[in-house]
Symmetry: C2
Subunit: 311 residues, 2 copies
Amino acid sequence: MGKRIAVVGAGLVGIGWAIVFARAGCDVRVYDRDRALLDRLPEQLAGILDDLVAAGLLDRADSVRQRVVVCDGLSDAVRDADYVQESVRERVDVKRELYAELDAHLNPDAIVGSSSSGIPASRFTGGLSISARCLIAHPVNPPYLVPVVELVPADWTSADTVDAVHELMHAVGQHPIRVARELEGFVLNRLQGALLREAWALYEEGYCSLADIDATVSKGLGLRWSFMGPFETIDLNAPGGVADYAERLGELYLELAKERTTPEPWSEELVERVEIERRHSLPADQLQERTRWRDRRLMALSAYMRGQPDT
Amino acid sequence: MGKRIAVVGAGLVGIGWAIVFARAGCDVRVYDRDRALLDRLPEQLAGILDDLVAAGLLDRADSVRQRVVVCDGLSDAVRDADYVQESVRERVDVKRELYAELDAHLNPDAIVGSSSSGIPASRFTGGLSISARCLIAHPVNPPYLVPVVELVPADWTSADTVDAVHELMHAVGQHPIRVARELEGFVLNRLQGALLREAWALYEEGYCSLADIDATVSKGLGLRWSFMGPFETIDLNAPGGVADYAERLGELYLELAKERTTPEPWSEELVERVEIERRHSLPADQLQERTRWRDRRLMALSAYMRGQPDT
């Protein structure tokens, strides 16, 4: 991987991307308008790389760290880049302003992928000379542990751009998925949102505690879903495959869908009840420590997964 | 665990339960009306126990195997039982007939849990002397690898019965969850169904291939969900916890729910397209081998999970 990568935006997402690309052997130049973020990047980067080495996910931290260069100006970061991973704030005006600047600095073949988790590319990449070379490349945080990346083109994104980013993501060890066209929430958050909708409703209706709903996933559904998706799961859950499964269970699932036709907001009162029950399980002053536990578990899982056969 | 357990129904689910209880040190007596199932049980049991030993999930197969006794008659299997795990066919008439028989044979304190994956207990446990001691104890297959068990009482199930089965399941290493009252599909399949509803719709609308939707879960959402449930996941996904998360993303999820208000059946044409795409990924003659791969992956994951800290 001799690719030259620029990462614009040095928050947690940007740092995560810097690690993904540098780990794969790319030269990475990082820029952020906020000088304070750039100043603390080397230390944060070193901390994460040390954790990855300790988890057996990385051989040497030094060589990766050396491939990440902090830049003082946007132009300096992006002008020689083959690919720019934009990871600035999730606001249309902020992104629009940045893309206009990128338009002035990029070389003619450079491609820009946005880490946007919700705003589609058509809202901030139109009317530029680079429009056809812009798309969404939405990661899960942190991308160096969770490989999926959603590639979502705008109407004006060229097919070559999607193909090139698909190839690049694959080459750096991510798992790119192609979304045919723009849609609200992309695919990952739509799947998560569908499950959450049911989970919140079951809690609101008094069927289950939060802890028990959580256990239904973490001690049940989530075990298979950590190595097989929902379609493969049901394909293997009836002797004759997915058509057989649909024959057996399609009607039940239709009945369940009929009970969820009215979109209910998470009311203030409901959110308050959920917040109280969660804070009972996990007091606010332990949120940070629990987040570190989650990251350690993700690292251990990632290391474990590497040794597992795909067939 | 000196409990005396009866397992009625010697299909895959029944065998799975026999292993759960015998592994925990209980004496298990198994009966099935179908003599052929009973005849092949010892060999199937031995095969699974050998696999568990090979995966490092069991020290010795012999002692577990010896605790499982095949019985010629229902009365012989259940008359001294403290707990009966009913795992017969998923049909109301079959279950009704069996429960009437159980009513005649059980000792006065015995409890019956049904493995029913969809039919609620009120449809087949009413009007008996044992009614108050019957409930649903719905496992995921295979229960010796996937610990969650949904406990769903009928209106007439006593609170003591739910408590006693909760304690028993916990004692034998399962993860019981309490569902407050009956509902279609219980909790696990409702959560799965909600995610499937969105997944089928995204495929039908041409946004994504099945393989890419699957990867969004298996290389994304499913990694965290294998050790944290959906509520804990979002609680840790905003600096201020779940209320902060709801503030940031509640509106997006409401918008997504508004797009899914009409329950759509999985049409014949859609099922056929899904079947064709799945058979392209996995030809029919490889379904069995892939199922064995899934079971090996589940065993390896289960062994891995044992060493992981919960905090």
